[in-house]
């Protein structure tokens, strides 16, 4: 909110600190001054007054009170000495009827007659302009001026335009309409409180005045309104018609009903002085809950435990200083005891209701900068270990070491993303955003894959090979969120490179990725990893819910639409599927304009974490040398490497320490329909050096076993 420096100065006899210094003081003790702007001879201070202080500080008077409390300078509120004209009676000009006292706890009105409408004096116009308001005429300007000074929204009607000389505060009727001062038309409904005359609404209560009883050059009789409305009613109305004004903003935060009188008298005084009006006798005041007399007025009283002040702030502030601060902020001190104070809260301070509120007042005016830092004294309890974060960190480190770059994507996907993936599931399996900002945020992501592929599309013009991963949450209807670990490798064709070579049976990128997964799982202490052909199983359509907040029985995305059905595999540990590995389907790559191949892994991180283990057991290194023999087998194309490996291992027995596939070859020099697999076989014993005779015997046994199949041929 913007305040005028000169206006603030007008409440003080002594000179205020210069604008910049004042701004620092306010920022440190009250609220941030976001900007200081020179405006002619004045300065505009844009102060970020917090909603809690709407009741007293959306006004120049309130800020002056704060300045006084901070600096100790004495401020004086402006005069509003009313001289009522005994011959004119307010009630002869207007009658006020409030239909709903809950919606309108107080309604005060004053009548000023014989006014002359003309432009306001320069000082009013300038102050309004500094605060961002457009001067209109003396009456309207004074109403605005009164609001900016006291915080009480005010409204002026032309008394002669009110049908039946009546003001009725009621909720709007169905299909009622109103045209506001700025010529906008609004459809009203029963939730919106209005000010009406005998016939129709003349203002939207607490929000905006209507065109009908507008003040114009010929206006002679002014009916001033100064009311208090229920914050919830104004908030609802303002939201319904989507209109926020200076008035509605103040009302929806809540203001002190006692303020209506101060505001209206200040405005009436100025109209009398500036527009030469006569103030009719009598303040029209609908105030059913008004306390009978001032003495009984129930100010809030708070017992402030002095020990608690010290314990919460962590510093001992002398009692004298505490009392001083409270007094400067206009709190009353009803009782002083060695252990506590009984503090009376001004009715303006709607934000103060508990001792902690008072401690904040004391702390900020005293100055947080004066509180010395002291380390807490606490039991030496070691922090608990967070296993989620431990495994996440380890996983990320492993992938980083395997030269993957970590990305963070948004947790949203668009309708378009969903359609690209042809997720065969019903839309109800997705969680839809009620109020997306743009089309990009229509759904919460059901998978990390769509955004990762978008990363590829974005980066491919700068990078030929991309290796990225993300570890983040996915969301499934109705209320499941769980962590996934998803990564990809791209293989883009270089110029002149032959596509058939890239997607050769060795499937370069696929095996690279498989190696990455083997490495990852091994480092996470998971053994018994194997890869299974993809088969649709009920599990695919019924994702297990590990870290969910409620179970999900919805369908998962159809895997077939995402993957190339010929190059994909389920990643399994023991009997459990933990994820999927495969090439992305050409169709999706085409839709996203991605060139080359993309191999993706998609792992359920909740499962992965559950299977992970920190246990590592050292395997003693054999003191005896290992011997390596190679073997090459010609087998039909459709034979799986695993099958051959199994045969070698079974035939080889315990002395075969390891078998490494080092080449797969098909093509020239190899008979059609066959491929050549070449292995290193490593022989080693724990207790002796193997003789070459021993090794040859096993090697022969292996060859024999392999050749039991007539279609297999060991190349010698």
């Amino acid at each position: 909110m913007v305040f005028s420096y000169n206006w603030l100065q007008s409440f003080f006899k002594k000179k205020l600190p210069p604008p910049k210094e004042l701004a620092v003081l306010l920022t440190v003790h009250f609220a941030e001054v976001e900007e200081i702007r020179k405006e002619g001879k004045d300065f505009a201070l844009d102060i970020d007054v917090k909603p809690s202080r709407a009741g007293d500080c959306f006004s120049h008077l309130g800020i002056a009170r704060e300045i006084s409390a901070i600096t100790g300078l004495i401020y004086r509120s402006s005069t509003s000495i009313i001289r009522e004209n005994k011959n004119i009676k307010a009630k002869d000009f207007v009658r006020v009827e409030v239909k709903d006292k809950n919606a309108c706890p107080r309604y005060t009105a004053r009548v000023v007659t014989d006014v002359k409408v003309f432009p306001s004096p320069k000082w009013i116009r300038e102050r309004l302009k500094v605060c961002g308001l457009r001067p209109i005429n003396n009456i309207v300007d004074i109403a605005n001026y009164g609001m900016l000074e006291t915080g009480q929204p005010l409204h002026a009607f032309d008394g002669e335009k009110l049908a039946g000389k009546k003001i009725i505060v009621r909720f709007a009727k169905k299909r009622e309409k109103i045209v506001t001062l700025d010529e906008e038309k609004y459809d009203l409904n029963e939730d919106i409180l209005v000010i009406a005359d005998e016939k129709k609404p003349v203002a939207i209560a607490g929000i905006k005045g209507g065109k009908l009883p507008e003040i114009d050059n010929k206006t002679k009789i002014v009916v001033l309104e100064s009311a208090n409305f229920n914050p919830k009613v104004i908030r609802k109305g303002s939201k319904t018609i989507d209109l926020k004004t200076d008035a509605s903003w103040r009302f929806e935060h809540g203001i002190d009903p006692n303020l209506t009188e101060i505001g209206i008298n200040r405005a009436a005084f100025l109209i009398q002085k500036i527009a030469k009006g006569k103030i009719a006798k009598g303040l029209i005041d609908f105030y059913p809950q008004k306390p009978p007399t001032k003495i009984f007025f129930e100010a809030k009283r708070i017992k402030l435990d002095l020990d608690y002040v010290e314990r919460l702030l962590g510093i001992k502030i002398p009692l004298k200083e505490i009392k001083n601060i409270l007094k400067r902020l206009e709190f009353g001190i009803a009782e002083v005891r060695p252990q506590h104070l009984l503090v009376e809260v001004p009715t303006l301070r709607l934000d103060i209701s508990i001792p902690e509120d008072l401690i904040e007042e004391i702390g900020r005016i005293y100055g947080y900068q004066k509180i010395k830092a002291v380390f807490p004294v606490s039991a030496l309890v070691p922090p608990k270990r967070n296993f989620n974060i431990f495994w996440e960190d380890l996983t990320k480190n492993i992938l980083k070491e395997a030269s993957f770059t970590e990305v963070y994507n948004y947790s949203f996907v668009s309708e378009k993303d969903i359609s690209i993936y042809q997720l065969d599931q019903p839309k109800s399996a997705l969680i839809e955003v009620e109020n997306p900002i743009s089309l990009e945020q229509e759904y919460l992501r059901p998978s990390l894959i769509p955004n990762l592929l978008k990363n590829v599309a974005k980066n491919q013009k700068n990078f030929r090979e991309i290796r990225i991963f993300e570890l983040g949450k996915i969301f499934q209807a109705p209320r499941t969120e769980k962590r996934m670990l998803t990564g990809l490798i791209t293989r883009t064709l270089a110029k002149g490179e032959d596509e058939t070579l890239v997607s050769s049976p060795t499937g370069d990128a696929f095996y690279q990725m498989k190696g990455v997964i083997d490495l990852l799982l091994q480092k996470l202490g998971i053994s018994n990893i194997w890869y299974d052909e993809y088969q649709p199983t009920p599990e695919d359509y019924n994702p297990p819910t590990t870290s969910s907040h409620s179970p999900s029985g919805e369908l998962a995305p159809s895997k077939l639409s995402i993957w190339n059905p010929k190059i994909c595999a389920e990643i399994k540990v023991n009997h459990e599927e933990i994820g999927f590995l495969g090439e992305t389907s050409q169709k999706i790559l085409g839709d996203l304009k991605i060139e080359g191949k993309v191999v993706v892994f998609d792992i359920d991180f909740e499962k992965l974490q559950r299977l992970s283990s920190e246990e590592t057991i050292y395997q003693p290194i054999s003191r005896f040398p290992a011997a390596v023999r190679d073997i090459a087998v010609l087998v039909p194309l459709e034979i799986r490497v695993e099958e051959v490996l199994n045969k070698i291992e079974t035939a080889g027995g315990i002395l075969v320490k390891d078998v490494d596939l080092f080449d797969i070859y098909e093509g020239e020099e190899i008979p059609g329909g066959k491929k050549n697999l070449a292995f290193h076989i490593i022989y080693q014993a724990e207790d002796r050096t193997l003789s070459s005779k021993e090794i040859d015997e096993i090697q022969q046994k292996i060859i024999k076993t392999l050749e039991e199949n007539p279609e297999w041929q060991v190349r010698k």
């Binding site: 440190v28 003790h29 009250f30 609220a31 941030e32 917090k50 909603p51 202080r53 908030r235 609802k236 435990d305 020990d307 608690y308 314990r311 919460l312 702030l313 962590g314 508990i354 902690e356 401690i359 904040e360 947080y368 509180i371 002291v374 807490p376 606490s378 030496l380 309890v381 070691p382 922090p383 967070n386 989620n388 974060i389 990320k396 992938l399 980083k400 030269s403 770059t405 970590e406 963070y408 947790s411 949203f412 969680i431 839809e432 955003v433 009620e434 109020n435 997306p436 900002i437 919460l444 955004n451 978008k454 990363n455 974005k458 700068n462 949450k473 969301f475 209320r479 969120e481 907040h549």
Partner: protein
């Protein structure tokens, strides 16, 4: 026989000179043939020994053998000197040529900053805990003393979901979730995603990464908060960093404050980043509001035997921007490898 002896001595001198004069491997090879080849001089001497009487045979044989070994040794030395000279010439390396680039992976800057934050707080006894991204209105607002239909709710622009939940606007709901299940004294930090329903620009983002902190005990104060947060800033940024608390408003803390650090870009003199003030807002904080304790099932206010404590929350994005001097918050979730590969 005296001849032979003289022969051996002069022979040794001669051979030694010849070896030293040799210019390349070929010449050396010829010297070898001349003396030690099948018909070489020394070979001949050795062969002729059998004709001599035993005593002399032994003596001269030994001397001839010594000569033979001496010569071999000299020739080897000479040979290796040749190899060395050729090495010196061929193995010259241009050390200014660039080193081979290794394919490296990169951790996201937010991950790196998060780890640093966790490490600092863990050393001060804070446990790291988490909470869900999808929250109920109760935990995100009501339990934090932000009533329905109250303008304070407008401080948090919120994404609502059709499943009746919302995307948490801050990590503060975890304060209540944690205190419901764990009795004080407690010290936690809570990292996690938060969401704000607002338009983006270089300093605004609709999805952010936040860290919440909470300490509850019988006597924790504002002074204690200043000590802990100051220690954090010093360890995270640098030792001479300045920070300040100023009043702010959050419904779930009372008193509430904002924490600013001296601007690292201009050193506090005033620049575009700090809007000329010399200070940059880093976090919101305050003493936990009694209603928050009540909503978590705890008794507030120690005079009555209850608890008190403080909480804070800051954006990791902002912390990372300050640390690495990143000028656009949207880069974090851009997936742009030209950005990510720098970390």
């Amino acid at each position: 026989m005296k001849m032979v002896k003289i022969n051996l001595k002069t022979l040794k001198n001669r051979v030694q000179k010849e070896v030293e004069k040799a210019l390349d491997l070929k010449e050396l090879d010829e010297i070898f043939k001349k003396y030690l080849g099948k018909r070489g001089e020394i070979t001949r001497i050795l062969r002729s020994l059998e004709k001599l009487p035993k005593a002399k045979r032994v003596k001269i044989g030994r001397e001839a053998n010594e000569l033979k070994n001496f010569l071999r040794e000299k020739m080897e030395q000479k040979k290796s000197s040749f190899v060395k000279t050729t090495e010196d010439k061929e193995e010259w390396l241009d050390i200014t040529a660039p080193g081979q680039k290794l394919a490296l992976g990169h951790l996201h800057p937010l991950t790196q900053v998060q780890r640093k934050v966790e490490e600092i707080f863990q050393t001060m006894g804070f446990s790291v805990v988490e909470g869900p991204d999808m929250e109920t209105e109760w935990y995100n607002f009501d339990a934090l003393n932000i009533p329905k239909d109250h303008p304070a709710r407008d401080l948090w622009d919120t994404f609502y979901l059709k499943n009746g939940l919302l995307l948490r606007t801050h990590t503060s709901p975890v304060q209540v979730r944690y205190m419901e299940k764990n009795n004080p004294p407690l010290r936690i930090i809570v990292p996690g995603n938060v969401f704000r329903h607002e338009a983006t620009d270089s300093s605004h983002e609709f999805q952010l990464y936040q860290v919440e902190g909470l300490m509850v005990d019988k006597k924790v104060s504002v002074a204690n908060f200043k000590a802990i947060i100051g220690e954090f800033f010093r360890r995270f940024f640098r030792n001479d960093i300045k920070f300040r608390l100023r009043p702010d408003y959050f419904p779930f803390t009372e008193p509430s404050f904002d924490i600013g650090i001296s601007c690292l870009v201009c050193g506090g003199k005033g620049c575009l980043v700090c809007k000329g003030t010399g200070w940059v807002e880093m976090a919101g904080a305050g003493m936990v509001h009694p209603n928050v304790f009540k909503n978590a099932g705890l008794i507030p206010n120690p005079p009555a035997g209850g608890w008190q404590g403080w909480a804070f929350g800051f954006g990791l994005d902002r912390l990372a921007m300050m640390k690495y001097k990143i000028n656009d918050i949207r880069l974090f979730r851009s997936g742009d490898l030209r950005f990510l590969n720098q970390f």
